[in-house]
Structure formats: C-alpha cells, structure tokens
Assembly symmetry: C2
C-alpha cells in the first residue's frame, strides 16, 4: 500500500489523524504531573517525551496548539516552574488514558482517574504514587516549533525515583522488568519484551562477527 | 532509590549517559535514510522521531551537537532536501544498531550493515527494503533546541508505504502485527505486545464504567 501526500490530504480527518500519529512507531507512555499557583493539581498523558541531553540531564515534551486543546499542563508549568514525568504501567493504563478527557481546570485528573498524588520535600509538582519510575524536573525553556503554537517544553532533571533492581550494566534501565508501557498512535498501549542488547557500536565488532549472526 | 540533580552530576559519565537516556521509556527504533549530492547514501538509527502534526503530516527527529557526532544524516538532508524514516524489525535489529558505528562519509551503512536500498520514482532519498513501514519526507525546517547545537529537523510526509493488513479501525497501525521495535536508552531493543485499546477519552465514559475494571 503506497499513500502519497495527496492521499493523506484527501483522507477522512480521523483516519488521517490515526495513521499519521502511528507512523513513527511506539512512543513512551508518560503521565505529566503539575500544580497551579492555587494548588490545583493536573495530570495528563503524553506520548511525546524526548531525551535532549544527559549532562546536564534534559528532557522535553511537545504541547499542541492552544486552539486544539486546553493546556492546563503548560499553564501550570509556566506558573510554577516544575513538573513530573511518571511512567505508565499495565495496571493503570486505563486510568492513564482517561487523563486525556476534557476535565475542567478545577477538577484534578488524579482524583477523577483514581491515581494518587505523592510529593517530594522541596519540590512542588505532584508525582504519581502508582508509578515505579518518577522524574521531577525544573522548567528551563520553551521552543516554538510550528507557527500554529506547537511547542517543545524543556526541563532539567532534579529528582529520579526508581526501584534499584531494574538497573543493569552501567545504569541502564530494564524497561521490561520495570513494566514500562508504550503507546501506538493515540489509543493503543503495548507491553515491552526485551529482544536484544548490543554494546556501543564499533564497525570492527560488526564485521568480525558477521558470521555469528 | 532516589537520585538528585547532584547525584547525576557526580555520576560516572557512561552510567549517567545510560540512565538519563533510559528515563523517558521506550522510544521508537527508526532508520533514517539520506543521500548526498554526490550520490553517497547514508543510513543511521534514531530513537528521537516525534509526531508534530497530522494535517499537514509533519514528523521530526533530533540531531545531536556537531562536536559529539558526525552528522552525515543532517548534511545530506540539508544538501538534498529529502529523507526517509524506516521501521526497525526484530530480524535486522543488529544491523540497524550497527549503523551507529563511525563509518566514513564514503562508506554507505546500507552496504556495510547488510541492508538494501530501495527507491521511489521522483524521490531521491533511499528507503530500507527490509522495512515494512517506510516514510518519505521533504525537509521543511530546523529548530535549534539547545545552545550546544542540538536541533529538531522537521519534514513533511510525502510517501507512506506499508502492508495494508496492519491497519485496523480508522487507519490505526497495529504495531505488534507490524513487528515494530522499540529502543530503551541507546542499546536495548524491545518487541511490542498489544495490551489495550481505548477510544477517544470522554470523562463520562470513564466514570460510567469504573466498576467494570
């Protein structure tokens, strides 16, 4: 099946939205926790968390244009300067998915979706207690990406909370053992099954062992 | 285990690199194919492909600072204006991983890593024949993200080639059926196993069926 740019333009809106959102493959499923200056918490699922640097440790996520979605997460981050990224696990995929419903600013998705707020002393944004990998970040900057208002929000990692037993060789995280979940498109969730681990790639290593494949 | 910003700063370099690269969760494993004006092809694995919009269909990927890596992919995209994003599958994870080795500009990773170039008429960048989901994009813009030269490269989708049987309900892609692969950190590869599919989230739906969980 070969679709061109014109086929995409002429596609029915929901079909195009689904297809194009699936194209890159599975994205990580993360819940982003924030709090407003009035103390109202917000929790929202994102599939756009990216790694931006390890020293300093920088991560980002993409927020959509204001005309498409209300942006409580963005508003809270700008008010407050802090946010949390929390891994989604199979036990609460459904609750995590429903944080994307249109709740009012006064409603907290934590309560509405049955997830529990947890706090770290000296850090204001709420973590998700049910999550085994929790990251606390300080807002650093925002980069406009598209003229329609899509932006990349960048934060520096201040706290990492995780079970030590998921670490292997030189601090890598075993995402299968952690029971991390991935998202395909906007609606489909996946478990991860580890299939291979390769060292830092040197071309000599590949060539010398080509026959062992 | 609770690590603070200071713990990350004081961590051994490779341990920090591994840990921080794993933090977000599993990223999609994609091979990006390009060609120089001299006709030399390049293929490189990326874990930073992001969705940016569906109408027009826009995707991006992050290139690291020029001091950290040679950027044949970036140079080719700027010379030529086109690039391809090709899904990695379990059968060629090892070949895909070794595209990250330091090959010279004159060496094509296609040949060196045992993958096959494939072309679409009227489109210059090479696709990966072994990949079941192939996307051809036209360069649109680049956004500087960090002062160190990290950039987001944005392209518009011109071609989508995929097996029709992986599509389900309203053009979603079943990534398990497609045998799409995810990456954790820089070195670990994962298969995807579908665990749940939820419709567009409306808060009424969640509340009315809470007892059915």
């Amino acid at each position: 099946m070969h679709l061109t740019k014109e086929d995409l333009i002429n596609m029915e809106r929901i079909e195009r939205l689904n297809l194009v959102n699936c194209l890159g493959g599975a994205k990580p499923a993360n819940l982003i926790g924030t709090i407003s200056n009035e103390g109202k918490t917000n929790l929202s699922i994102f599939n756009s968390v990216v790694h931006l640097g390890s020293n300093p440790a920088l991560m980002g996520f993409i927020v959509r244009p204001p005309k498409e979605v209300r942006r409580h997460t963005y508003e809270n981050v700008r008010q407050n300067g802090s946010f949390t990224i929390n891994m989604v696990h199979p036990e609460f995929v459904r609750q995590a998915h429903y944080t994307s419903a249109k709740f009012e600013a006064e409603e907290s998705e934590f309560e509405a979706c049955g997830l529990t707020e947890e706090y770290v002393e000296g850090f204001s944004a709420p973590f998700v207690k049910e999550s085994k990998l929790k990251i606390g970040l300080q807002y650093l900057s925002e980069i406009p990406i598209l003229i329609n208002g899509t932006m990349l929000i960048i934060g520096q990692v201040e706290h990492v909370i995780l079970p030590e037993e998921v670490l292997f060789e030189d601090n890598q995280i075993d995402l299968e053992k952690l029971e991390a979940v991935g998202i395909g498109g906007l609606n489909t969730y996946y478990n991860l099954e580890k299939i291979g681990y390769y060292p830092y790639a040197r071309k000599e290593d590949f060539r010398s062992s080509e026959k062992d494949q």
